[in-house]
């Protein structure tokens, strides 16, 4: 390697150092501390019991608790609901919004706003709409003959209510990415298809969608990570209730740590969920690599 290239690489390595050091310090210390907590009987509600080392009993308790399992299931249920609807809606709206008609640019811009709102505010406005007895959503539903729904008060509806709010906020993200991808597609194959007379449905299904697949996978992956962590919206709308109908992982951890004050258990649950999400990510990446390798062959 030339002198210049060598020097470049060394300096580039130095460029990398601050980020690594800072991230290391700011994440490793809290992580280590949390790890320490997870092996201890750290219960703030019982200040007189010594905080002793209890081995893996916190982990055992979490893994065997039905509440944790329920939280996991609820989290995945919510993820499935929101991701699937966001995907379909996002792609559909993107198709609409990339038509070459006047005003579409403004529409695309306006539709980006929900994404940029604080999740807490999103929760608040939907709370306003869902508010028992007074919220406007039930009023408008009533206008078309639907009887009022206890959005956040009924166990059957609570998770859906949250899903709706989350879908409202994040569909624009999928739409934006899909719209950008659609606009980057080469137009010539579409002319050829038009010439040959392929139906519009065929063109969408066989020409557009396959080309969108990599982008959609990418977008969904990002959204899945965030969906797993979801907290603010639920905190505002239902705080995990009614009962535990909307208690997702992050709320389970919150309840253990800040309602029951059992920090050790909360920490153990945190690590377990971290491991779960890491496993999912690794699985995801491995299968991506596998499918890429198969395509190349």
């Amino acid at each position: 390697m030339s002198q210049i290239a060598n020097r470049n690489r060394n300096i580039a390595l130095i460029f990398l150092l601050p980020a690594i050091v800072i991230l290391f310090v700011t994440t490793i210390f809290p992580m280590l501390y949390a790890l320490w907590l997870s092996f201890r009987n750290y219960d703030l509600s019982k200040p007189f019991i010594p905080r002793i080392f209890v081995g893996v009993s916190n982990y055992a308790e979490v893994l065997s608790s039905s509440a944790f399992l329920h939280a996991l299931i609820t989290t995945f249920k919510l993820m499935a609901m929101t991701l699937s609807v966001q995907l379909v809606l996002g792609v559909a709206i993107a198709l609409l919004v990339t038509q070459k008609l006047p005003g579409m640019g403004i529409v695309r811009t306006l539709l980006l706003i929900p994404m940029m709102i604080s999740p807490v505010i999103v929760g608040l406005v939907w709370l306003f709409l869902y508010f028992p007895e007074l919220g406007y959503l039930n009023y408008f539903l009533g206008l078309v003959g639907i009887s009022p729904i206890g959005w956040i008060t009924t166990t059957g509806w609570a998770l859906t209510a949250i899903a709706i709010a989350d879908i409202w906020q994040w569909t624009p993200f999928i739409m934006m990415g899909t719209a950008a991808a659609l606009q980057s597609l080469s137009p010539e194959p579409y002319e050829a298809a038009r010439l040959d007379g392929n139906s519009r449905l065929d063109i969408f299904w066989f020409v557009t969608l396959p080309q969108l697949k990599p982008v959609l996978v990418s977008l969904l992956f990002l959204r899945a990570i965030d969906a797993f962590k979801i907290y603010d919206i639920i905190y505002v709308l239902t705080k995990g209730g009614p009962g535990d109908a909307t208690e997702v992982i992050s709320l389970y951890i919150y309840r253990q740590s800040f309602t029951f004050w059992r920090m050790g258990v909360g920490a153990a649950a945190s690590f377990i969920s971290l491991m779960i999400i890491s496993l999912l990510i690794t699985y995801f990446f491995k299968s991506m690599q596998r499918s890429q390798a198969m395509q190349a062959r």
């Binding site: 940029m116 505010i121 709409l129 009023y139 962590k229």
Partner: protein, 274 residues
């Protein structure tokens, strides 16, 4: 394809529907913030009402809201500036160095985004309490940077990839050092990326709630926490909440309306082959 008039009408109709769904809640925030309590939940909803600025007035008198806005600004700007510097340097390194360790490092950095925040709240609380940084903007700046730095790296890497190495080599052949080349040649070419990263770092910090709630008290409280504080154990003070919400909403809206093109470009760099 020349769409028929009927198709065009259908498309516009659907778009109108979509716009209504996505814009009405935002309108609600603004409208409700200007309503008197009696109009807040009137059924049928009142589109014409006597507006009042009382809620906004209350916002600033019942809470030191201007101070809280200042706190949010300090934290957001601080974290943004810090993360931009650290993050773009790292992104540059990741873009230019090609060996397998780099991929591991880059993956590790990006995985920082994947932590559920709730998992580190307690440790951060205890650590900051120990070093006496509780209830200070600095605490939040540090915490937000663990998210903003990876975000910046993710956004900027794509922009750095687009700057041809040939340009840097030309500058170096002329005798400029690596650092000078970086500042005078490479970085200016990635200015749009920096702008995008800045916007997203700012918005994330401005919008954040959980850490702000847990790590601040009365002195360093941010706007999101302040808005939620109007929700006392029995009553939700909707007017003031909506007023505060609208103010929290403003930076996001401004950025979207002014920088839309850049934002889309930055976000889709990673996913879409431009």
């Amino acid at each position: 394809m020349t769409a028929s008039a009927r198709e065009k009408t259908l498309i516009y109709l659907l778009i109108a529907l979509v716009l209504i769904v996505f814009m009405v809640p935002i309108y609600l925030i603004l409208a409700s913030s200007l309503k008197q309590p009696v109009d807040m939940f009137s059924q049928p909803p009142k589109f014409i009402f006597t507006p009042t600025l009382q809620n906004y007035y209350d916002l600033f008198t019942m809470r030191p809201f201007h101070l809280q806005i200042l706190n949010s600004l300090i934290v957001a700007l601080g974290s943004t500036a810090f993360s931009l510097v650290v993050g773009s340097l790292a992104a540059y390194a990741i873009s230019r160095i090609k060996n397998k360790w780099i991929n591991e490092v880059s993956f590790w950095i990006l995985s920082m985004r994947m932590f559920p925040p709730i998992t580190v709240v307690v440790p951060y609380y205890i650590i900051f309490k120990t070093v006496g940084l509780l209830d200070t903007p600095l605490a939040l700046i540090i915490v937000y940077s663990t998210f903003n730095i990876p975000l910046t790296v993710w956004l900027m890497k794509g922009f750095f990839d687009e700057v041809p190495a040939a340009l840097e080599e030309a500058a170096q052949v002329d005798g400029h050092g690596v650092i000078a080349t970086f500042f005078w040649v490479t970085l200016p070419l990635t200015a749009p990326g920096l702008a995008v990263a800045a916007v997203f770092c700012f918005i994330f910090s401005w919008n954040e709630f959980l850490f702000a709630l847990m790590l601040t008290g009365s002195k360093a409280q941010t706007v999101t926490v302040a808005v939620m504080s109007f929700w006392s154990s029995d009553a939700v003070q909707w007017g003031r909440i909506m007023a505060g919400s609208f103010i929290v909403l403003i930076p996001g809206m401004i950025f979207v309306l002014t920088c839309q093109r850049w934002l889309v470009k930055g976000l889709t760099m990673g996913s879409v082959k431009g």
